[in-house]
Subunit: 163 residues, 2 copies
DNA sequence: GTCCCTATACTCGGATAGCAAGTGTCCGAGTATAGGCGG
DNA sequence: CCGCCTATACTCGGACACTTGCTATCCGAGTATAGGGAC
């Protein structure tokens, strides 16, 4: 089980966009430079975020990306789902119907497999926890717990990038 | 994010072994036939279960696998961890230190990244839920909610396999 | 009849190919901007 | 001086290679069993 790097990049990008002043936007190349990741590949994930309605792509010269909705309403679950897909990690292949039970009518297996149910419960708990954190929470955490010198460094870089 | 098929097979195998009478054992080939999966590949995952101390491999002619511990003490989390590995799905690559913050001393980043913390909380909730279900729970569920005709079919097959 | 020995057949275990999905990259379509031109 | 037009430069969007890890398979090492033979 492995979560792709794109998820981490996407969340960091959303947090950065949420920290921009006013309705400022940032192009993919700048977001990649800010996080030190390949620009072309990050663009791929930003497309996924745009398709999911999380960020808004502004075309043209001075274009870029900005959050499509307030950071307060944007949960980590939405970002993870947009990048990784919405199908569950565990997929029951109904192996209980294979082997000696092959050929038995499907009506004999009404309830879902107990294993699939348990795994689904676990994933639901995982999603619930991700939904409890919003991008605004991340921004607040940065404002409170990140060293001022780091914030200053990032702020200066953003000023030069936005000009 | 995707969980390999081997996890589903491993849990089904543990449930089947837990349902065996007395200290009976079942070889990998029979477990594969019972579940309709490739025997050689299932053997690979059974090795992982044996290495983790979940099942016990009995060598020799009449050998096979049996549970190494009581089904009541065996949780789904242990099985999933044994097959998929114990490293977390989300791994923070510390991209906050790259880009314009590159070169800043590491002492400026004492607390873990808020994103990594949130993802870790979600995974902890996932593990907690998996730990709440034991293999014995699965067996009980089968005894209560699975159609008697299905249980009969599997029981007959097991009798012929154990002889 | 009992014990021992040997050959066998079956088991697990690790080392070896194949494939799919994630990873990384590129170039083309489209648009807001900046400058130049005409009025 | 003001408005319009055009060329430009920058943006996003989708199509194209590559690498890692999961999927699938095989053959060799080891052992309990079954049978036969000697006592």
């Amino acid at each position: 089980m492995k979560i792709g790097d794109g998820v981490e990049w996407a969340i960091h990008c959303c947090a950065a966009l949420a920290g921009l002043p006013g309705d400022g936007s940032l192009p993919a190349a700048k977001l990649a430079e800010l996080h030190g990741v390949p620009a072309a590949y990050l663009a791929k994930h930003l497309q996924a975020l745009a398709a999911a309605g999380i960020v808004q792509a502004l075309p043209g010269r001075r274009g870029g990306y900005r959050l499509a909705r307030p950071a307060e309403e944007l949960t980590l679950l939405e970002i993870v789902t947009a990048v990784e897909g919405d199908e569950p990690a565990f997929r029951c292949t109904e192996i209980r119907r294979r082997g000696p039970c092959k050929g038995l009518p499907a009506s004999l297996f009404p309830a879902p497999c107990a294993i699939a149910s348990a795994m689904a419960r676990a994933e639901a708990a995982w999603r619930r926890e991700l939904q409890a954190t919003s991008v605004a929470d991340l921004v607040r955490h940065v404002e409170r717990h990140v060293d001022p010198r780091v914030r200053r460094r990032v702020g200066d870089w953003l000023d030069s990038a936005l000009s």
